[in-house]
Subunit: 867 residues, 2 copies
């Protein structure tokens, strides 16, 4: 028996989505539910794959199955395809497994030709010629790639000639003229006549849908969304029903709930006496669905019942197309409806309360990219509608902010002491700017990518941030935005979610996390196996993350503590030391400040685990860069400018990312690691005594380990000192010593390292850099070309490259767990807050993901998702 | 039955080296050959491992086996251990599988105590007390770690008191005094009496040998030479024979051939009436072995026969220890002898011609580190003996050179036009210095490591080079070497093999490659499965490599072609272009020059494969750095200095190693890759026509690929253009398009890339950098600490890190060959010339290794080795 390539609606169901495509499967399902669906058949995705396997030829088998099913459809509809006697017209539409923009979509009224139109005209001439001209134009577009504009010229001319308002007002004679001229356009553009044989129209349309599977836009979309080429598309052939037959006819689209607010109400719009495309084309102004209730209450009520039935059946809010032909309601399509963040959360809650969906389904129903907006202030829509952006950049950290422009941290202090909100505008930021960033409402930079310093720090702080805005040139005391100068104190507004910059102030609104959203988060925690930790560097940030539901701290970057004004001098003194003794004197000044930082952190986290990473960046990052700052430092240190410049020069590295940093620093200057150990353990001892009965869990993390001997050398010294201090104090502190896995070599040798380390935390930022061999700071120069040329579909710094970097992570986890099955493993790179990456981390068996505080809710939901 | 831990010499053989250690196995073997060996027994390496498994305790079983064997030895020697009646004295010596410096070595005369010495004194009082005092000192050193100096003070005092020349002249009474005072020193330093029980002496000595297996020096040596800790050491206990019994006594060492020249002659030295340690201690001046022939011809002839027998038996030149006791010759030890490069090559040839060894054995007998010296000029030894180094640095490229100091390329041209040899002295070199390096006899830099630019390029050119000499401070027109100024034109000499810098001129000598060495190379080629290619950038270098026996070119770096004076201007013009058309105009100026370069290369390589890498470094490397050069360029280009500085600034990268380079350049500027394609293919066409009948094999290599789409995008364009040109010209050019595998991601995704690429060439320099996450230019800052702390044993840029980087290479090869079993795979990183790394490349199934011309002979031999 031959393989079945074509299915009648009545042969399918929603479960056959892979074979029938989304659209076809839903039509089949509605047929099974006895809903009023115009009947038809589906050419399956298998047929599409067969077509490509046959070098782009439709096999005789498929053609004969199409013909056979058309015969069946004739019987079902009691109409005749390719006949003047009660002619059967059909629509042809594509339908892949997943909704896919970029593919050929629809041909309506297929089956018409000169003769059939003339026959049909005997009953309804307007309908016949209006439908015919639409067919010619759509078929020309879809099957032959003829631009719509060639036809628009024709119809616009005739509308003008006839002195009518729109094509809707054309007379039958004029429509006949349109058909004639459309056929001429077709002949001119295609080089052959419009096919009069409906059979030819049908097969060419099916083939056109198949071909559109491989067009560049569709291919790119698949790459972007990891949709395999092998899925193929199905083609749905459905009996035409006409909303444009005059009185008692209408066509429209509607949602089963309000997609903006989530309110339970039928929400949509329609047109009387029109075909579907008119509703969406914008050429006619549609009516709200409530109008249908007034004018055709029976049909409205029937539609409402169907909408409720479909929602229950599909466990989701539906987006439906309908047509009313001579007072008879038909459903042409149904699918899950798009919605706003607020609506999504409300609908998920309501459907759960109504008993329609489970908690898991509620969680899975959310679009997390949209949900993210819930967590940040937004511009008021009415205010936003009145302004135009003056520049744009990369949307690095969501949220809206308005404030006065400042160009450096000092001014940021001045303005914020006066209680003025500020926007920090910089060429790019560096660790020196941390304090200024802290005080600002938003950050705007001319350079840098989505994982530049500004972007990473801003996300960590939950601040609005736009980076890499090429519309900006930043000077010392003004900024050129395109060709206009803006000075310090000028007011601007930025939207870190869209990347747009506006002049002046725009009102913002906070979208509070309501009870509905809290429910979703609670349910997520019930379901998820993994925990969500946070990356945060201060007790304030940690508190914020705990409020968002973090269950621990996966990354405290101690270097940020080194930059604040009260300690940077001692840090520089340490760097300028020429021997170990001088260095220890400088470190002894930093010790009490760090201890104080850690005490605050321990008081906040209490018994939750907190992973503290030892000093990571190369020392030159702590040195001043401007002449003025160097002179000041020379003055303070009693050294010559020359000596300080010499030190700065000696610290220079060709590739600082691959230089003297991470554990390499601690190996050459163990006294730094020992000072940090002392600060952590003494702080832990003090806070333990202060709180009483709480056992702290500091996790000491040694960064950038590539060889187990590096880890051993440092862990030995850290443990010796820590144990000594704890023993002397005689308190219970559960500290562990682990490492970041962020070098390819550490992945390959993870078994050796796992033998010695108490925990692993994957640093996916550096791991991505080293695996690809490019730095995130420098990749901007060519990544744009990569996206333009479709070489890369996604930014590997935003969504984990599971094929390459992910494979190294898998190798590492497998090797490590083979040695130590219960090793605690987490991830503290930027990817820890990205839903797609989180799905991977779950799959490979990590224990937790750690992300910036504002991403914690997103991560909690991501971990509970079953898709 | 219990495990055997102790073996009599008569129970062992040379095959039992793993159990008995090298020394013990050879003594057993000589016993089997019925040679005059003082008998004894061996405590095996299994016993050593048992000792460590038992937490450093010798088991009763081992002790009882030692005692049992001592009984057997008493029977064999007819002497008695721990007895006044014909006392048996023994030596105790360590002996691991491989010769291992850093381990405890020897205790002689063990078995003596006050009583036994007194008894022995009745026959020979000098011998008795001389032997006793030696025992006390050696035992104290070996078993208790007492510094020899404590004993030296005593004996020096007594020698002075007695007014004699040396300890050899001390009277019996004085020797008794020495023994007494030595025992006091022992008691003082150890805190207990010197053990009078020979049994205790024996067991403590054995234990001391076991312990020395774990001392830091031994551990470090093992790490350096990849010797597993699990091997353990054996201990040899052997009857003492005495070369110091007076008349008819002697002791010495000798080689079976001259270790300096390789001549077939007994070569060594000895002392009459002495113990072995005296010969090597330097306190007495030994006599040449020819003297023995005169004085004791019978013993000499017996020794000569034994030496010949051992050579034949062991298939190698032997280094032997002997003692003559009362005119009776004993052999105490034999092992393979160390030799000079010349001697090694001659001996290997002679032994083959004598039918003693096979070609494979001849090849395996060479120490390649030493052989490398054969290929470069050396300072004359007599001249070198008269001078002291004034500075030192890293020996980056071997060979000796003398010349006048110059500080830049321009001066290099001036001096060399006058025919003066020069040494280029720089802070560090950059691609701009290529021409100056070419003209110099040697290169000396103050900065950089073994794989810095200067080092890599110098090795490629076969020039003497010292880098990273911290004794230097280089200024514009002079250099401070330590505290002395040297100016341009001053004469210095450098030895790139030792890293020493000398003042003035030192005569050099070339060590020509002789027939013997040629034979070795021929035999190597017969045996090796892999081929040796070369990394070379000009036809001159390629010709040199072909003369050294290269079978192809594995890497032509085209960027070096961009730096020469006649083309750098067009290159800069290309970089300063603001649009594609300007860029193409500039490229069209470079095209004929590149084509000419390639024509020369093709004429040289003819039908051999030649792999040409497309432009790799970031563009900023081609821009001028000094103000003067920038001004000149501005002038030439008709641009402002400001504009040129702007371009330079825009090209700046934070981490150029991880920036816009390699295939990323070609993707953003495909016109560069197309120009290079045109130059290569047109050159190939022209040379094919010119030569007639020769089919050229250019292999086009796209660098730094991390994703197959990068490769596809470029390969498509390259092939389209190449095919078009070839078709038009209608000649036969066999070009292929492949890629460098030098990023961890390319290794992980090697299967995808292998599907598309015609060949793989591993770039192990970059792969090492990315896998470890440090750049070779910046690693100097911490790698020294790593070696000092024993964190790393070897420089991963010199010898491939097989555990980490090697594992990635294995993953890549396995994945690639699974897709394309006959994929051509090679290596063109610096490791291609390193014997240890070559062994790995052979093991993982590469097709060829490619190295700089001067390393080609070493690589050829390495590939043939069976060890």
């Amino acid at each position: 028996m031959n393989k079945q390539f074509v299915y009648l609606f009545s042969e399918g169901s929603a479960k056959m989505r892979n074979t029938l495509g989304g659209k076809g499967a839903n039509l089949a399902e509605m047929t099974r539910l006895n809903l009023p669906v115009p009947q038809g058949f589906i050419v399956s995705t298998d047929a599409c794959n067969d077509y490509y396997d046959n070098d782009g030829k439709m096999s005789d088998d498929i053609i004969s199955q199409v013909n056979k099913n058309m015969k069946s459809l004739e019987k079902i509809t009691r109409k005749n395809f390719n006949s003047n006697d009660n002619p059967l017209l059909v629509s042809v539409r594509s339908g892949a497994r997943a909704s896919m923009p970029g593919m050929m979509d629809t041909v309506l009224n297929l089956g018409l030709n000169d003769e059939v139109a003339a026959a049909m005209a005997k009953t309804n001439a307007r309908l016949a010629y209006d439908s015919y001209r639409r067919l010619i134009q759509m078929f020309a577009d879809v099957a032959q790639g003829v631009d719509k504009k060639h036809f628009d010229v024709v119809i616009d001319t005739i509308v003008d000639d006839q002195k009518v308002e729109t094509d809707h007002d054309l007379s039958v004679e004029a429509l006949q003229e349109v058909v004639l001229r459309y056929k001429e356009v077709y002949q001119r553009e295609v080089g052959e006549q419009f096919p009069q044989d409906p059979q030819v129209q049908l097969l060419q349309s099916i083939e056109a849908v198949f071909k559109s599977w491989e067009n560049p836009r569709a291919k790119y979309y698949r790459k972007l969304n990891s949709i395999p080429d092998s899925w193929g598309t199905a083609v749905t052939i459905q009996e035409m029903v006409f909303g444009n037959m005059g009185e008692g006819c209408a066509t429209g689209v509607a949602f089963s709930r309000n997609p903006a607010t989530g309110t339970k109400e039928l929400y949509g719009e329609f047109l009387f006496d029109a075909q579907g495309e008119d509703v969406v084309a914008g050429t006619h102004t549609p009516l709200p669905i409530s109008k249908l209730k007034e004018e055709m209450p029976d049909q409205y009520n029937e539609f409402l019942e169907i909408a409720e039935l479909l929602e229950k059946h599909y466990h989701d809010m539906q987006d439906m197309e309908f047509t009313i032909e001579n007072y008879k309601l038909y459903i042409l399509q149904t699918r899950s409806g798009k919605r706003t963040a607020q609506a999504a959360v409300k609908i998920a809650n309501d459907l759960f309360k109504e008993g329609v969906i489970s908690k898991q389904e509620a969680i899975d129903s959310l679009d997390l990219d949209i949900i993210d907006g819930l967590l940040h202030p937004q511009f008021q829509l009415e205010a936003l509608a009145k302004v135009e952006p003056i520049a744009s950049g990369l949307p690095a950290s969501p949220g809206a902010a308005s404030g006065l422009i400042v160009f450096d941290a000092k001014k940021a202090v001045e303005y914020s002491e006066k209680g003025r909100p500020i926007i920090l505008v910089r060429m790019e930021t560096s660790p020196e700017d941390i304090e200024g960033m802290h005080l600002s409402s938003g950050i705007l930079t001319a350079r840098g990518g989505m994982t530049s310093h500004a972007a990473v720090v801003a996300r960590g702080m939950g601040k609005s941030c736009i980076v890499g805005s090429t519309d900006l040139r930043v000077y010392d005391d003004y900024v050129m935005i395109k060709d206009r100068k803006f000075f310090e104190g000028d007011q601007i507004s930025i939207d870190g979610g869209t990347g747009f910059v506006y002049e002046g102030q725009i009102e913002t609104q906070s979208v509070a996390i309501g009870e509905d959203f809290d429910n979703i988060l609670q349910w997520s925690d019930e379901i998820a196996d993994l925990k969500v930790y946070t990356n945060a560097d201060s007790s304030a940030e940690i508190q914020m993350a705990l409020d968002f539901g973090a269950k621990g701290v996966g990354l405290v970057r101690t270097e940020h503590m080194f930059f604040e004004a009260d300690r940077i001098r001692a840090v520089r003194e340490m760097i300028l030391s020429t021997n170990q003794m001088q260095r220890e004197v400088a470190l002894s000044k930093i010790l009490p400040i760090q201890r104080d930082d850690f005490e605050k952190i321990f008081r906040t986290v209490r018994e939750l685990p907190v992973t503290i990473r030892y000093l990571d960046p190369p020392l030159h990052e702590f040195m001043p860069t401007t002449t003025q700052d160097i002179e000041e430092l020379a003055d303070v240190m009693g050294m010559s400018v020359h000596e300080i410049r010499d030190t700065i020069r000696s610290l220079h590295e060709f590739n600082p990312m691959m230089g003297h940093r991470g554990c390499r620093l601690a190996i050459t200057y163990p006294e730094i690691a020992l000072m940090q150990t002392q600060a952590i353990i003494e702080a832990a001892i003090n806070v333990t005594k202060e709180l009483g009965g709480v056992v702290l869990q500091p996790e000491i993390m040694i960064p950038l380990v590539g060889d187990v001997e590096e880890f051993n050398y440092l862990a030995r010294q850290v443990k010796t000192l820590a144990n000594e201090l704890i023993e002397k104090a005689n308190v219970d502190v559960h500290y562990t010593v682990g490492t970041m896995i962020e070098l390819p070599r550490a992945c390959i040798l993870a078994d050796e390292i796992a033998k010695e380390a108490d925990f692993f935390s994957f640093g996916t930022n550096d791991l991505t850099q080293m695996t690809y061999g490019f730095s995130r700071d420098d990749a901007g120069g060519f990544l744009k070309s990569y996206y333009d040329l479709n070489i890369y579909a996604k930014d590997p710094f935003s969504t984990l490259d599971t094929k390459g970097v992910g494979e190294l992570i898998k190798i590492a986890i497998n090797k490590a767990r083979a040695i130590k099955p219960d090793l605690k493993i987490g991830i503290c790179g930027e990817h820890g807050g990205d839903p797609a990456s989180i799905a991977f981390f779950k799959e490979v068996g990590m224990n937790y993901v750690s992300c910036s505080p504002f991403r914690v809710p997103i991560a909690r939901i991501s971990l509970a998702r079953d898709k």
